[in-house]
């Protein structure tokens, strides 16, 4: 494995690792804010994967100057811009709702938020 593909695949491993760690946190953490943080981690990982899916090592950023020849794919970057903003919007709402739910159940522990079930 040469340095270029090491660079390329190490990025993928980092991104996937973040997603998996985030999901693990989501499944196992009890504090509602901690779960929100885990979602943020997984989101970051997914965004990295998206950008990575259009990435080619050794090319330039998708801003046209004199040489049009070799650029990375602009589309995934555009998608990630959208995804980041969506992520922060969701996080803002999640935190507010989580805070209110925690205040109602008297603790931030999701195991206490089981009024609705079955």
């Amino acid at each position: 494995m040469n340095a270029q593909s090491l660079f390329y695949w190490s990025l993928a491993v980092t991104a996937l690792g973040l997603v998996l760690i985030g999901l693990w946190g989501v499944l196992t953490r009890k504090n509602i804010l901690r779960i929100a943080l885990a979602f943020t981690l997984a989101d970051t990982g997914v965004n990295l994967i998206l950008v990575w899916s259009g990435f080619l090592p050794g090319r330039s950023a998708p801003i046209v100057d004199s040489s049009v020849s070799s650029m990375v794919d602009p589309l995934p970057q555009a998608l990630v811009l959208t995804s980041i903003v969506i992520g922060v919007a969701v996080a803002a709402l999640f935190v507010v709702v989580g805070v209110l739910a925690a205040r109602k159940s008297g603790s931030a522990d999701v195991r206490r938020m089981k009024e609705l079930k079955w």
Binding site: A3, Q4, L6, F7, S10, L11, V13, T14, G17, L18, I21, G22, W24, G25, R29, K30, N31, I32, L33, R34, A36, L37, A38, T40, L41, T44, N47, L48, V51, W52, F55, P57, G58, R59, S60, A61, P62, I63, M71, V72, Q77, V80, L81, I84, V85, G87, V88, A91, A92, V95, V96, G98, V99, A102, R103, A108
Partner: protein, 81 residues
Amino acid sequence: MTLLAAASIATGVMMLVAAVAALVVKKLISAIIIVGFVSLSASILFLLMDAPDVAITEASIGAAISTVIFLWGKGKIGGEE
């Protein structure tokens, strides 16, 4: 290219360690700061992947604004896990 590989691996390892730390560390406030740090590192990776637009956005929105949001939430809930 070797330099890039080394940088990306170093950043990646750091991020993964930090991510696990954010989930297991006792204090919620530390976790929030660590997640902010992970976001910032992610924006470095974005830069490495030739995505300056994304890097700027991630740094300003992912790292800064998200952190403020979480800090607010922590302030409202109070206490630790």
